[in-house]
Symmetry: C2
DNA sequence: ATTAAATGCGTTAACGTTAACGCAAAATGT
DNA sequence: ACATTTTGCGTTAACGTTAACGCATTTAAT
């Protein structure tokens, strides 16, 4: 159970019969060491698994680490990114004794220009790590390919193929969609009929996979139909109302609706407010507006991507890699998490105040 | 956003006009300081919010921290505690550069004698922190009251009133029961009839609250009946079969069953294996046996208490308190988490291998 | 052949904290 | 009055790592 004490640079030096300076030069590739000595030292380093004591290193260097977050504006996606920032903020506070500093760099997720402007505003010289939301894959890819190769980065929320992040943090969108189907089916009491997917009109890989998962759930069931409809701009009131009206005209009696992103509140507000019948609605993300409507009963289920946890993990794993030089798992999967109106506990709420009633163990 | 640099002991000393030795004596209450000097130093320490650099301290002291886990045997509750241990183990590995060492002290949760024997085997002299599962409240209370007051401890899984733990980690059992009701109702397609609770015959506060929550869900609904039955020993095959047989005789057609603890697999195995009809069953905890039956479809839903996360958090928060001397939130609520057969991802699995298919972002 | 540069290595001073040690001066005991 | 203890404080050596610096040799350049 107890691993043995870590070997120190001084002990390595003694074993080889050189000074610590020489060992240090080998360790940091600072040259001025003969090939034979270098080999001997490298052999021992390997043999004894020497790893520099991160505490001593930090003490000596007094290094301040700068991590940059490249993410959509915090208010976008109905405030989703703000939830991520809460987790990031908390991690930053906890890790401040280690000299971790966080800088938020936000862009408009619908503007390539904004992305580039923001990306270029990051001062790469004194950047020790990047937290990236690859929400515009092509641009992110392009930018990363021109990046100095020595800057470590993590992906959160989504990922990109064929890259080398320290780790990828995210939720399986296919599975989320599948489960959305399952829950929607239950909330509709397995009634036969037509079930709708409402999605933004975008190329977003995540959204597509969620829809695929949702459709996969219904594929083998008999008596059920599914319809996918995309809306060009859910944030714009007229567009939204026009879209939903024509949807209801086309499908007059949908048994349930799955909104594949965080704009589910816009849908639920129109379809389930002041109506004589309730359409089961399931959507994504516990953003404030969605939370409110969940509480009011206009939304039935929300799938959470656990944004604050993702943000926290992104910072923490980067710290583990950069400061502690530990080995990080290549993937950090985020379990799919449901919220009904009865189990609303905001994780890492901004003010750290949790609702007492949700946690009353005694009396 | 950037907090200013922490003040050092040397700077405090300079400001007061004494040496660092004197300041250190004040900080550690080692006497040999005049009252006036002490006051001056204390004032400045307060004013500038001096806090010793945990890295330097650890470097100097080379202090090894010993944390003891006082918990039921890892195999008890169908292996539930083993899952907690996984999270503890992982935290211990991550924190090993800080000299954290973990010692597992396990007892039989059904034997007071075993509890005392185990509790007394903890060498309190070199104990820097305790992780406590207060699963036998009376004995734990008694033991804690006789404990030297300077040892910090955290509660996980459950808590005790009127104590001063560093933090309490746990899930709201009432809410969990309530949601179990809600989900069971959905899985039974809201069919009218009788719904059963099966619980162990014990005084366990958690279990009681879960049942209360479950009953609360049905209380205001019309056409639904609920029946609570306790079984003396679910682990014993004959007792179990006798219990379930008489249950089915009494309630021939239950619409759904809620098992208020992790022994749901025993129930599902008998009631839903090789039967022509499926009774919706919901239970607690993603222990291996339950996971298997969930996968096979004999169990419909499992509520997870996120044992590995609880274990991880318990160690991590204790580390934050003891090593970093940070302020810890008084309560760490564990959100209620559901598993269906489609979203099985084991958090913190022992071998750190996650199921790839659950996290395939691309293609 | 002489100077200059490069190589190979050791030494050392920090980083901030802690606690042992030392040493006056004051307080106490006989 | 003198010995002894106590008080109040400063000094210092670690802890492990890093990188600047120094100093011989060896190698290269003119």
């Amino acid at each position: 159970m107890n691993r043995k004490r870590q070997i120190t640079i001084r002990e390595i030096a003694a074993k080889v019969g050189v000074s610590i300076g020489t060992v240090d030069r080998v360790l940091h590739n600072r040259g001025r060491v003969s090939p034979e000595t270098r080999e001997k030292i490298e052999a021992l380093v390997k043999k004894f698994g020497y790893r520099p004591n991160p505490l001593a290193r930090h003490l000596k260097l007094k290094k301040e680490y700068q991590f940059f977050i490249l993410s959509p504006y915090r208010h976008e996606d109905s405030g989703y990114w703000g939830l991520v920032f809460n987790g990031i903020q908390r991690a930053a506070e906890e890790l401040s004794p280690f000299g971790i500093h966080i800088f938020f760099k936000e862009f408009d997720r619908y503007s390539r220009e904004s992305f580039w402007k923001t990306a270029h505003s990051i001062s790469l010289e004194d950047c020790d790590g990047l937290l990236l939301a690859p929400i515009i894959p092509s641009e992110m890819l392009h930018w990363l390919n021109e990046l100095p190769s020595n800057i470590p980065y993590v992906f959160f929320d989504a990922t990109l193929p064929d890259m080398s992040p320290i780790t990828e943090i995210g939720q399986d969108p296919y599975n989320g969609g599948f489960l959305a189907g399952k829950l929607l089916c239950l909330f509709a009491l397995r009634e036969r009929g037509t079930y709708c997917v409402i999605a933004p009109h975008s190329e977003d890989y995540h959204i597509k996979r969620r829809i695929e998962g949702f459709l996969a759930f219904w594929a083998n069931l008999e008596g059920y139909r599914t319809e996918v409809r995309t809306c060009s701009d859910m944030d714009h009131q007229e567009t939204r109302e026009g879209f939903l009206n024509s949807l209801l005209q086309e499908i007059p009696n949908p048994k349930g609706i799955f909104v594949a992103n965080s704009s589910v509140h816009s849908v639920a507000e129109i379809l389930n407010r002041d109506n004589s019948f309730h359409i089961p609605i399931i959507g994504y993300d516990l953003v404030p507006e969605n939370e409110r409507l969940l509480r009011e009963g206009l939304i039935d289920v929300l799938i959470s991507q656990r944004p604050a946890y993702q943000g926290y993990q992104a910072v923490y794993q980067l710290y583990r890699h950069v400061v502690l030089q530990q080995v990080i798992e290549k993937k950090i999967p985020i379990p799919i998490h449901f919220y009904f109106k009865e189990n609303l506990i905001q994780e890492y709420s901004p003010d750290l105040e949790y609702k007492e009633t949700m946690f009353a163990f005694n009396d």
